[in-house]
């Protein structure tokens, strides 16, 4: 039987190794998934047509329109905005002012054709009446999907 200290040392070494492994795995996944560009970055770097990437931002007020099954809206980060078109069912949380992440490609006309649109929500939960009261009194913190 090994002494207590040695056993502890083995456990701690194992902990560090597994921690590093999980960390690296998550970091790699993160690179894959979560690097989404803002409309400003797209405007500046001018992404090539046909290359798949993610765009994230807030849905611009009054920009949502639909034509048949295709919904068109603009996503903004305050400085720039990008027009996105999507031909599938939007998540129920999708609305003006909401944070969204879209995966898709830029077409020749500069419109982002999304294959997937995901909606973000923040950590605040309250009944509708409370939200209305807060909005009236001006204490409402506008939700910034990905603030």
């Amino acid at each position: 039987m090994r002494p207590k200290r040695q056993r502890l040392l083995i456990v701690i070494t194992g902990l560090v190794f597994i921690g590093a492994a999980i960390g690296f795995a998550l970091f790699a996944l993160n690179e894959e998934l979560d690097v989404f560009r803002s409309p400003s970055q797209v405007a500046e770097s001018g992404f090539p047509e046909g290359k798949r990437f993610r765009v994230g931002g807030l849905v611009e007020d009054g920009s949502v329109s639909s034509e048949g099954i295709v919904t068109t809206f603009r996503v903004t980060d305050g400085a720039h905005s990008l027009t996105i078109s999507y031909d599938k069912i939007l998540p129920d949380l999708f609305r003006e002012g909401q944070g969204v992440i879209a995966l898709g490609t830029l077409n020749a006309g500069g419109t982002f054709e999304a294959q997937e649109v995901l909606a973000k929500h923040d950590e605040n939960y309250m009944p509708p009446e409370v939200a209305d009261a807060l909005k009236k009194s001006g204490h409402f913190k506008p939700e910034g999907g990905d603030s």
Binding site: V11, L15, L26, L29, N30, D34, P91, D92, K120
Partner: protein, 247 residues
């Protein structure tokens, strides 16, 4: 602590606790169910899907809490050779794994209507899935050894090593850019949930905790009896062999 290393004493204590934990679990889960489904208001953004929170959040918290308990019991068993701690850890695993599975499943059922997807490989969801696999690996490791002492040691080391995943789960929503929301309940500036939704949630969390304690007592009881049966069987076999050798 060493007082409870005696299985008989532990069983006596457990029998005294059981009626209370069972009563608290039944009351809180019952009240939480009625409050959460009938009386709690819908959320201003997420409507009635917020009722999934009353299962999802307690399951998530308890799956992490049970894991923490399992890791602590494993450390006690490993370092001090405590005779009941390894059984507590072993008995906790299926309960924690069930909570973890419920959390992932209800999260998926919540994500589909709100986010627009059943699953996404973001840091929170991925680290939670890793915890489910660690739970399953831990349970498999116990089964992999014939010698229960060796099994206990190997499983305890796995439980301790896997504990590193706990802070990763908790802080994943801050360290990485996740689709999953940041913490609503345990935050530096207090809960971000309105009282009308917070109270039923707290009831459910207490209910889940008491449920864990109740089921844990039954499972540890089973483990203690099974260990004693194994030892008596071995002794019987030895006696039998000795008798045959004498003939």
């Amino acid at each position: 602590m060493h007082r409870f290393a005696n299985p008989t004493r532990f069983l006596r204590l457990a029998a005294a606790v059981l009626p209370f934990s069972a009563a608290v679990a039944a009351l809180c889960l019952g009240a939480g169910l009625v409050w959460g489904l009938f009386f709690a208001p819908p959320d201003y953004q997420q409507g009635d899907t917020v009722r999934i929170m009353f299962i999802h959040v307690p399951a998530a918290m308890m799956s992490m809490g049970v894991y923490a308990g399992m890791a602590i019991a494993s450390a006690i068993a490993l370092i001090w050779r405590h005779a009941v701690a390894d059984l507590i850890a072993k008995a906790s695993a299926p309960i924690g794994a069930t909570f973890c599975f419920i959390c992932l499943l209800t999260g998926s059922l919540w994500g589909k209507p709100m986010w627009g997807t059943w699953w996404v490989w973001d840091a929170r969801l991925t680290s939670m899935l890793i915890m489910l696999f660690i739970y399953l690996g831990y349970m498999a490791l116990w089964q992999a050894f014939d010698d229960q002492t060796k099994a206990a040691r190997a499983a305890a080391i796995l439980a301790l090593v896997g504990a590193i995943n706990l802070p990763i789960i908790k802080f994943s929503v801050e360290w990485w850019n996740t689709l999953h929301q940041p913490a609503s309940l345990i935050t530096m500036s207090g809960p971000k949930i309105h009282a009308s939704l917070l109270w039923p949630l707290l009831l459910m969390i207490v209910g889940f905790g008491a449920y864990y304690l109740t089921v844990l007592i039954y499972r540890v009881r089973a483990e203690i009896h099974m260990r004693r049966t194994r030892m008596l069987r071995l002794a019987q076999a030895d006696r039998h062999a000795a008798m045959q050798a004498a003939e």
